[in-house]
Symmetry: C2
Subunit: 336 residues, 2 copies
Amino acid sequence: MEIQKITLDHGSGGQASQELIRKIFLKHFDNELLARMDDSAVLPSIHSSIAMTTDSYVVDPIFFPGGDIGSLAVHGTVNDLSMQGATPMYLTAGIILEEGFPLDQLDRIARSMAESARQAAVKIVAGDTKVVPRGHADKIFINTSGIGLVPDGLDVGAHNAKPGDLILINGPIADHGITVLTHREGLDLQSELTSDSAPLNSLVAEILSGSDKIHVLRDPTRGGIASALNEIAEQSGISIELFEDKIPIRKEVQSACEILGLDPLYIANEGKALVFVAPEDADNVLKLMRENSLGKNSAIIGNVVEDNAPRVLLRTRVGGTRIVAMLAGEQLPRIC
Amino acid sequence: MEIQKITLDHGSGGQASQELIRKIFLKHFDNELLARMDDSAVLPSIHSSIAMTTDSYVVDPIFFPGGDIGSLAVHGTVNDLSMQGATPMYLTAGIILEEGFPLDQLDRIARSMAESARQAAVKIVAGDTKVVPRGHADKIFINTSGIGLVPDGLDVGAHNAKPGDLILINGPIADHGITVLTHREGLDLQSELTSDSAPLNSLVAEILSGSDKIHVLRDPTRGGIASALNEIAEQSGISIELFEDKIPIRKEVQSACEILGLDPLYIANEGKALVFVAPEDADNVLKLMRENSLGKNSAIIGNVVEDNAPRVLLRTRVGGTRIVAMLAGEQLPRIC
């Protein structure tokens, strides 16, 4: 059987475009707001402060253990909204396709986006598809933008860390980056690596409703926990002390990092949140996190200290201390 | 002097990414919401129904007479919101760069986006930059998503055309598509072709505040007025009669279409609105449109009729009638 492929006609704005939208996107994203197919979606009335975000996904390979570019695109934007304490509500999907991309793969990706959206209780309400000639893009790129409702008075931005705060994370680090890298390079490490890509909105909702002592939320994606913590240190004007032996990491991920000469602190995560909590409420928040299916292996990994300059210090297993700098260059391209 | 170029480091999420954001995007898009650099922007409270839209721009060439990929990306999303009768408020920008892209061109594009946003009175509140290795994308792709406020009870969607409505347009057709095509192919047609790319929100606000008899608004972008009118005919279950001698078109655009064998009805516009108005208020709306600087050459080009099947009919200059079908395939790739 011949495999049907994307042609330039599918990006024309004419009949072929409309058929593609109906047969793939409307089928999977089925909802009344998208189905009107106007130039923009009209949403129900909002009476709230809102958060708005955007991310483009260019991950290679587009299918990997634990997800694909479609689920990643939904999770990533859901998580960016969640990290403002917002309840994610509506997403848009802007898709750039390379001529010749197989339709069955597009169908699989659209289904995966729809499933991820359902799981996160968000709706994909507007979309756009462009096709570029062969060689002008690599297979498929997806932009997702989103809005969410922000509770009045809540501020969990990166500027809000306070001395004494304890730093929690909801599980092992570096799963996503190492999985994508080894899968792309075809490395056989004799182990079951899986991306941690997941929507964090339910976990965030549970800890925010159970604690009013949460100061910062941040998802350590590109650049890993090292980059995210450096940004928080700089924006809050504080320093951070991390304890190497407290940072959860899977044995197989640790081994892969050693073999490849990569520092897991700089490797991307796609289902992890760093949570800064006032010390008196840290045990409570840790308990709430562990009760969520995405937080069973949550741990306290460090704390906020006052210091002369904003920086991140790692207390190593062997009792030493080193400065964890902001990632200067690129460790791994096209990880998300 | 060496021209600085985008490297993979600029997409790392680390220090090089942050420098790029500060030196180019924050400089031009300067606003307090973006400047916080959190994972998502927190916007002021909204008490309204909102419209939401997304579009990716892959135009080639990225600079053309009358605009560039940056101004086009802002105008396009502003216009998609305006076509719902919404007041565009906030945009996001998701940028995919090819390794090696010159920084001075990126600076020029960011400046152009900022100027277009100011002109349309919208803010770019969140952004994302990804870099892919050389050959994995063509120079630069930009996604803009946006939200706008929709007045209570307003419905100007494509499903709302009514028999008897007159159809207005705010000036000559096909300028954008023909300009981009001839510029890309290096055709010297001895004429001054310029894209019509422009933000239509002020024109739309003026006609909506001066008339409550506007039934449909639509910007005829990809696929031209032929595709837009076919969509409206289908969604409203009506037919449309167009008068060829009433449709404004520049002489040089008409000539270019003849030379190239292209039908201007199918060529993209980026600063045009199709406006369906109840007949008793058409002269009033035409006058309002002509008072706006983007509507000086507005004209009534057709009307809505009842018919057995939804279709678009063209009454030609020579007195004949032909059916204007939906664009089946692709006339021109990478026009927007």
